[in-house]
């Protein structure tokens, strides 16, 4: 039953099904070297129009974007579009997994001058490392913690508030297995990346049922429901909380619970197949420049920069600076790479919990 599949022959077999030449094979179109393609979430810094204009003025390089809606889509696009991308945004929990497939180039920090100002804890994070070499430049970090309506915030310093009687029907959870399993793990005082007892995690999350009003999957959905008063307590993104306060004047307070929050670190990488590697590196250097970050954070709203100097340059009363305290970096548990079967166990646990909520 278990035979090894030879991928090349397998592909050949599939390809043979198509009438040859009916749709002539297309090579990736050659591009002028002054244009690079970035793969990222939409509206996540790299596509700010003013920044791209400035970058083009400085370097003559034009930047176009392709977007993804989940980390797996980013991975899939990298796998199936060799030569299409010059820069990719990758959650550091995925970087080594993607590097392992030979899809990324190692980073030579000597070519990224601004990397000298990166917080060493983040720049040298083991998440970026594969085979002893770094495959990503730390860009921004943030936390998944409690986003609570201002007038309820005083009594909501612990994750336990999500289970409390005053939160009945007033909780919004984030539809992400890694985060929700991680929340239970934090409560148990365990590793968010490898909780000891998944059964206990499932039971704990199931117990929240009477309190859960909705499960959100985009910042947009969170904002619209929160502004309509649908819930008071939620698991939310730190960077988004700052944006909700600033852009939409929503009365939300981001709280790092006493049990801790779930940290994540996003990096910028250069695909091994990138056609314009030097230009890609200069764009990455620009992206970690404090000048870009301060404008992005203060005018639009951003997660915390991995660049320590950039964080210092933020005005003292900036919501992002108030939320993302540097001392958290030492205490936070960061999302880390995990084997496929463990990731599957996380998702199965969360699916079981959601099915229970729905029943």
């Amino acid at each position: 039953m278990r035979t090894l599949v030879d991928r090349r022959r397998f592909n050949l077999l599939l390809g043979a099904g198509v009438a040859a030449g009916a749709l002539g094979a297309r090579m990736p179109r050659a591009r002028a070297a002054n244009k690079i393609t970035v793969l990222n979430w939409q509206g996540y810094g790299t596509d700010e129009a003013w920044a791209l204009k400035l970058f083009a003025e400085q370097t003559g390089i034009e930047v176009v974007h392709d977007y993804f809606n989940s980390e797996q889509e980013m991975f899939t696009k990298l796998r199936t579009n060799p030569g299409a991308y010059d820069v990719a945004l990758i959650n550091s929990a995925w970087t080594s997994r993607i590097a392992e497939e030979g899809l990324l180039d190692p980073i030579d920090f000597a070519t990224v001058p601004n990397s000298a100002d990166l917080d060493p804890l983040l720049r040298d994070s083991s998440n970026f490392a594969f085979d002893g070499k770094p495959y990503g430049v730390a860009w921004v970090w943030g936390m998944n913690g409690l986003g609570v309506r201002k007038d309820k915030a005083a009594g909501a310093q612990s994750l336990e508030v999500l289970w409390s009687p005053e939160a009945v029907g007033r909780v919004a959870l984030y539809d992400d297995a890694i985060t929700e399993v991680g929340i239970a793990a934090l409560l148990f005082g365990e590793s968010i990346n490898d909780p000891k007892d998944m059964k206990a995690v499932v039971e704990k999350l199931k117990a929240m049922k009477p309190n859960v009003k909705l499960i959100w999957s985009s910042e947009d959905q969170w904002n619209k429901a929160f502004s309509a008063g649908e819930f008071d307590y939620s698991i939310y993104w730190s960077g988004a909380a700052g944006r909700s306060q600033k852009t939409f004047k929503l009365p939300v307070e981001f709280i790092v619970p006493t049990e801790g929050a779930i940290g994540w670190l996003d990096g910028l990488s250069v695909p091994a197949s990138a056609p314009n590697k030097a230009e890609a590196v200069s764009f990455i250097n620009y992206m970690i420049d404090p000048k870009f970050y301060v404008k992005w954070a203060t005018e639009v709203g951003a997660p915390a920069s991995a660049n320590a100097k950039a964080m210092e340059e933020l005005p003292a009363d900036d919501p992002q600076k108030l939320i993302h305290k540097t001392e958290y970096l030492k205490k936070l548990q960061f999302m880390s790479p995990m084997p496929d079967d463990r990731r599957q166990a996380f998702v199965d646990a969360w699916e079981e919990v959601k099915a229970f909520y729905a029943s």
Binding site: M1, R2, T3, L4, V5, R7, F10, L14, G17, V18, A19, A22, L23, N69, S70, E71, Q72, E73, F75, R79, E100, E101, G102, D175, D176, A177, I178, K209, V212, K213, L214, I215, S217, Q221, K224, A225, A228, E230, D340, R343, Q344, F346, V347, D348, W350, E351, E352, K354, A355, F356, Y357, A358, S359
Partner: protein, 296 residues
């Protein structure tokens, strides 16, 4: 209904078989390249331990098809999804057929044409934006409550956002035009004379409906049901946004397997199981219908 004959007698030497082939080939060749072959790849993936990328070893397994055995909680999710399909299709039929009859009998000429277009037009707006509009209508103290309170000031809230009924409302809205228009296409061809004749022979309205209108509307009802039931059981956008915690369907489970677990084999196995269920439902359904509807 008269049985279609095997094409017109060929006069210019083209055999009926060649004509048939010429008619179906473009569509099915197109579907083969764009959909069937890619789906065959997915079908193969569903028997692998992981999608065949990178340099990790991949082997054959049938384990993904035991998904309902290994994850018993999914059985209930699947049943709820089937029920969602049944509710949506049923309500669409109950509203759609009368609406189609009204459109074809109560209106004529240009008015009818304009109304016909007006039924489809909401379809041309983005589905996601429409669903967000529904959240405003259905939420507590939302627009629906405002409308009710315009007539009855102290009405209690009937906001149903974040519930199973809210999903059904959103789905009925999204798919109703299919049912109205497929039914319309069937009933518009009914001769007024047939109905008049039946009535003058003393048939009462329910009898006319049951014996004449319904059998003639059947092709439209069936086509509409296929176009509604099939996508609804795999829907995930309306459930996620309108359903709150009730918004767990086999569609959202499949989506999560792709986007969160990165498990294409399991996700595709689930969709092929769903496809098989759909085929079985329609096989049974069409057999049952055949018994009833060919009596004309």
């Amino acid at each position: 209904m008269s049985e279609p004959q095997s094409g017109a007698p060929a006069r210019r030497g083209l055999s009926p078989g060649a004509v048939t082939a010429a008619l179906v080939t473009p569509a099915y060749l197109w579907l083969t390249v764009a959909i069937f072959l890619p789906l065959v790849a997915m079908l193969v993936f569903s028997f692998l331990t992981a999608a065949p990328f990178g340099n990790r070893a991949v082997s054959f397994t049938g384990a993904h098809y035991l998904v309902f055995y290994n994850r018993p909680y999914l059985v209930e999710v699947a049943l709820r999804s089937l029920a969602l399909g049944a509710w949506t299709t049923g309500i669409c039929a109950l509203i759609g057929l009368p609406a189609a009859l009204a459109l074809s009998r109560a209106f004529h000429g240009r008015t009818r044409e304009v109304l016909f277009f007006l039924v489809i037009l909401p379809f041309w707006t983005n589905g996601l934006v429409r669903v967000f509009s529904w959240t405003m209508v259905l939420r507590e103290n939302g627009i629906l409550d405002d409308l009710v309170r315009a007539f009855w000031v102290d009405a209690p809230s009937i906001g149903i956002l974040y519930s199973y009924p809210a999903i059904v409302v959103g789905l009925v809205h999204a798919y109703l035009p299919y049912m109205i228009l497929t039914c319309y296409l069937s009933v518009v061809a009914i001769d007024d004379e047939i109905l008049e004749a039946a009535k003058s022979l003393g048939a009462r309205a329910p009898v006319v409906f049951w014996k004449i209108v319904l059998p003639l509307a059947a092709p439209g009802l069936i086509a509409g049901s296929v176009l509604i039931f099939v996508p609804v059981i795999g829907s995930f956008m309306e459930p996620r946004i309108l359903g709150g915690t009730a918004g767990v369907t086999i569609g959202t489970v499949i989506e999560d397997q792709f986007t969160q677990a990165f498990n294409w084999p399991l996700g595709s196995a689930l969709s092929f199981i769903m496809l098989a269920v759909v085929l079985v439902v329609f096989a049974v359904f069409s057999r049952a219908l055949r018994g009833r509807l060919t009596l004309s």
